[in-house]
């Protein structure tokens, strides 16, 4: 021990003496000085970082949309006849109403189905959570097209439902399930449940269960504790999930087009038909504007009750006690009026639910399992079909064979589509990650007072219905001669995926400890070195997540591709779309299976990377 101490002392004296001899300060390569100097200026840095995002949003969203609005009134002619036509023509008007009706039904059903699952997710242990979440994530990231295709099989004349009903002797003829409003609703609910679960979960995860426990200790029956304490606290999350689903649902294209009958047309199909078949551009512009206005009105209404950014990224909202507004006072007044009814309801509910709630988790687990089966069964049907020995789409398959896999292995058109999709996805994800990350830095760190509106603006591609983005870009790119080029296609995909990157990166940046950057700077790291050595490595998991989301968004995108593709190779969704409409065959199942497998692998990889990174860097990790 003594020796070591002595050695230490010797070293220290050395160290102390040496400081005079070798000041390292100033011994640095001066290569990137200019860039570093520029980056030191806050304004210049802001402009550099913000401009790609702003150019993208203004140049390829705002301007094309303005063109559409302008075109819908025929420019300076200010001709509102096309709007008049939408509202006076019964068919057009009914399509509007039908769209809103379907949107509402789907929203309510998805929320109702998802709420208990989201609730259970907040109570699960982390092991169970990661398993269950994979079962929800895989459907969430599987292309709408594939999921819709699965429902076409399941609900078809020779699908498992009709076969089962006939086998049980309940019906003699196959029921016409496909091409009905029912099919549209089932298909859309299936699409939206995972979205609803995660949106609600992310805000419900912030609610401390101790509140409800405290209520029970204070004498509330379980149902009272839930209805009076937990439910009200979870309502903002439910509401924001509802808004999200509603605005996506009313702009939905794929599912109603494939599962619905002729009378189930929704407004986005109408817009596409008006533009591509009827070639009545002004009318389609007007329809677009109406759809846009409905969306904006919905969002405006929502903004009265919740901060809008909560819809897309609940992580940005601090759980704060916001000012008690007129509205909530109004609400509590209404509550008081309903109080006797509420008490009666609670007494009743207590009797009914006593058994259920005391064994709460078992019931919840059963329910959750049913939902998980509902979510994954269609994918499983698709996977099984890919091994069918039949040349037709029948379920259950009559026998096992690999013939469809062999067919896929030899189908060069599918190969080129697949490769093109990958290529497109990678390029789009690269640009989206770059632009989105720079944008997120700017949005989080700018000192501009309009930070919040800017953040909302950067999410606008998620607010505008995809069909409108697709058609407006189509017109705009045709005008500037970009239509049909790879660049034009990439721009469309980047536009759609950039908000996801922003949401992920902004959340990561808000949680980023900026004193790490200060520490790096004061210890000699130039701005670019800080970025390369400290900031980016720590943000790596978020970068990968953002990139993966961008890739999957692009990989799944149909409408944008249909409109902007021109004569290029069809990416997978477009190829898929063409084939589905042409004929249903098990080859589609095989291709879908491959994609589902890829999605699953990438989700598992992402989870694994995240876990590993967290283990290493979590501050809370055990000693």
């Amino acid at each position: 021990m003594k020796d070591v101490g002595k050695d230490n002392n010797h070293m220290n004296t050395l160290l102390a003496k040496e400081r005079a001899a070798d000041p390292i300060i100033g011994n640095v390569a001066r290569g990137q000085n200019f860039l570093n100097g520029l980056l030191a200026n806050r304004r210049i840095r802001g402009a550099v970082v913000a401009s790609p995002l702003l150019v993208l949003l203004v140049g390829f969203l705002i301007i094309p949309l303005s063109n559409i609005v302008w075109g819908s009134v025929e420019g300076t002619k200010l001709n509102f006849a096309h709007y008049a036509r939408i509202f006076s023509d019964e068919i057009n008007f009914n399509i509007m109403l039908h769209t809103l009706k379907i949107g509402l039904i789907v929203t309510v059903l998805s929320l109702g189905a998802a709420y208990p699952v989201a609730y259970l997710l907040t109570k699960m242990g982390s092991r169970a959570f990661s398993i269950v979440s994979v079962f929800i994530l895989v459907p969430l990231f599987t292309a709408f097209l594939i999921r819709t295709y699965a429902w076409m099989i399941i609900l078809g004349r020779e699908g498992p439902i009709n076969n089962a009903l006939i086998w049980l002797g309940l019906v003699s003829e196959p029921l016409p399930l496909l091409n009905t409003t029912f099919a549209v609703i089932v298909g859309m609910v299936h699409v939206f449940i995972p979205m609803a679960i995660f949106t609600m979960y992310s805000s419900m995860a912030r609610i401390n269960h101790d509140f409800a426990r405290a209520a029970q200790i204070l004498g509330a029956k379980p149902v009272q504790a839930f209805v009076r304490v937990y439910l009200p606290m979870s309502l903002p999350g439910v509401f924001s999930a509802g808004i999200l689903i509603f605005i996506v649902a009313i702009g939905f294209y794929i599912t109603p087009a494939l599962l619905g009958g002729p009378r189930d047309a929704m407004i986005s199909q109408q817009i596409v038909t008006q533009m591509t078949t009827l070639l009545n551009f002004e009318l389609s512009y007007a329809s677009s504007v109406v759809l846009l206005l409905v969306t904006i009105a919905t969002l405006f209404l929502a903004s009265l009750f919740i901060p809008l950014e909560m819809i897309w990224s609940s992580a940005t909202i601090e759980p704060s006690n916001r000012k008690i507004s007129e509205r909530s006072r109004l609400l509590s007044g209404a509550k008081r009026a309903f109080h006797p009814i509420l008490s009666l309801f609670e007494a009743f509910a207590h009797v009914v639910t006593k058994r259920v709630l005391t064994q709460q988790s078992r019931w919840l687990w059963t329910y959750t399992t049913v939902i998980l089966v509902f979510l994954t069964a269609p994918l499983i049907v698709v996977v099984l079909l890919s091994f069918s020995s039949s040349p037709f789409v029948v379920f259950p398959p009559p026998g096992f064979s690999l013939q469809w896999w062999e067919r896929l292995a030899n189908a060069t058109d599918w190969h080129t589509s697949f490769l093109f999709s990958i290529q497109l996805g990678l390029v789009a994800a690269l640009f989206a990650t770059l632009i989105g990350t720079m944008g997120a830095f700017w949005l989080v760190r700018t000192t501009l007072p309009i930070k919040r509106p800017l953040f909302l603006f950067s999410l606008s591609p998620l607010m505008v219905p995809v069909v409108i983005i697709a058609t407006s870009l189509y017109i705009f790119e045709a005008r500037i001669g970009l239509l049909g080029s790879f660049a034009g296609l990439v721009i469309g995909h980047v536009l759609l995926s950039v908000p996801y990157v922003i949401v992920v990166m902004a959340a990561a940046l808000r949680g980023f400890d900026r004193s790490l950057e200060s520490a790096a700077a004061v210890h000699g790291a130039r701005p670019l070195q800080v970025l390369r050595l400290v900031t980016l490595p720590i943000l790596k998991p978020a970068l990968w997540t953002g990139g993966l989301l961008a890739f999957l968004t692009s990989f799944d995108e149909l409408l944008i591709s249909i409109f902007l593709l021109g004569r290029q190779t069809s990416p997978l969704p477009v190829k898929f779309w063409g084939d589905i409409r042409f004929q249903l065959n098990p080859l589609l199942s095989t291709a879908s299976t491959l994609i589902v497998a890829l999605v699953t692998v990438s989700i598992l990889t992402a989870q694994w990377i995240r876990l590993r990174h967290e283990q290493r860097t979590a501050i809370s990790a055990s000693k």
Binding site: D7, N8, M11, N12, T13, L14, L15, A16, E18, R19, A20, D22, P23, I24, I25, G26, N27, V28, A29, A40, D513, S515, L516, S518, A519, A520, A521, V522, H523, G524, A525, R526, Q529, L533, V534, P537, I538, K540, R616, T617, A618, I619, S620, A621, K623
Partner: protein, 356 residues
């Protein structure tokens, strides 16, 4: 070589908020200077100005002989220990400590040698390959210190580095930091709101209140001759009684204390008729049974309100009319006064000062 730091009329505004006002301070090479002040007084801001994270709104700052107001932080060559340590979570201990050298593109062998020495200095050389989250708070603290000194900085800044540690560890780290500062003979600016830390560790203490330097002095003068009421009450415990100066005789004056008793006290520039605050430390006040004769010039009658037995001493609260006085008495076997006992408190003239 350790370097001096000179601040000349340094100002900092955040909008209309004047956070650092007229900082005029010369810190000698090798000096251990502490910024002491309540939370929100501007200590961190002052440190940020020195480190270069913020630009002063006015004034000049010299590191050695070089003006550094326009020099970016990465060229100042300053080491800093952050309150939350700010260790890079994705780097091992060695990588963290080597950081200041690697970003300066130092040679590999030099890096290894210096990192090893720095780690030995903070006694953490066995933990080379751990990640920060695998270390305890005290160990992280040592690594943060090693990282801040590994490149022979001209100046070492520490922002409440002991705030996050538990009490025992804090005592221990105080001594370690002092040892390392002595060994490297490095100039240190240490920020704290804890007067004990400041009194124990510093060569000089700069007391800051509302963005202003109130008093810059060594621990003893600060404790015994505070310049104003704020310093008196912030550094250590004190009694402050309202008083009025009557007559002045070479530096001392006769005073009326709390409007009821006459006494004698040192003055700090007051003139006759002026009112002020009579300052006296609790350990300088004697307590005796009412009526006992006293040689002290200042005597007040009171009643014991509260007596706290603290082992080595007893802490009395004595009510004297409208004022309460705190008295600390070493326990050497003298009588103990229970609550409600009528007593007399007294102190010498050269133990008390009239403050503004």
């Amino acid at each position: 070589m350790s370097t001096s730091l000179e601040m000349k009329k340094i100002q900092k505004f955040y909008g209309a908020l004047h956070v650092v006002r007229d900082f005029d301070l010369y810190i000698e090479p090798g000096e251990f200077l502490t910024f002491l002040g309540p939370s929100g007084s501007g200590k961190t801001t002052a440190l940020k100005l020195i480190a270069g994270f913020e630009t002063p709104s006015g004034g000049d700052m010299l590191l050695g002989s070089r003006s550094i107001v326009d020099v970016p932080p990465y060229e100042r060559g300053i080491g800093m220990v952050f309150q939350n340590y700010a260790l890079f979570p994705h780097m091992t201990v060695v990588e963290n400590v080597a950081f200041p050298l690697t970003v300066r593109k130092a040679a590999r062998s030099e890096v290894e040698e210096k990192v090893l020495r720095a780690l030995q200095l903070v006694k953490m050389d066995q933990y080379r390959d751990r990640y920060p989250n695998q270390l305890s708070g005290g160990q992280q603290q040592r690594i943060a210190l090693a990282r801040a000194i590994v490149f022979n900085p001209s100046l070492l800044l520490m922002d409440e580095p002991l705030g996050a540690l538990d009490r025992n560890l804090r005592e221990h780290m105080k001594i370690e930091i002092m040892r390392i500062q002595k060994e490297l003979n490095i100039t240190v600016i240490f920020v704290t709101h804890d007067q004990d830390e400041a009194l124990v560790m510093s060569d000089r203490i700069a007391v800051i209140n509302e963005g202003r330097l109130v008093q810059v002095a060594d621990s003893k003068s600060l404790y015994y001759s505070p310049q104003d009421r704020f310093v008196a009450s912030f550094v250590g415990e004190s009694n402050l009684l309202p008083c009025r100066v009557n007559q002045i005789e070479n530096g001392t004056g006769t005073v009326t204390i709390a409007g009821r008793a006459n006494g004698v006290a040192r003055l700090s520039g007051q003139s006759g008729g002026e009112s002020g605050w009579l300052f006296v430390r609790p350990e300088h006040v004697d307590i005796s049974p009412r009526g006992a004769t006293s040689t002290a010039q200042n005597v007040l009658d009171g009643v014991v309100e509260d007596a706290l037995f603290l082992g080595e001493m007893t802490r009395y609260t004595v009510r004297c009319g409208n004022e309460t006085m705190t008295v600390k008495q070493q326990n050497r076997g003298q009588p103990h006064f229970a609550g409600k006992t009528p007593v007399t408190v007294s102190w010498d003239a050269d133990r008390c000062t009239v403050l503004h």
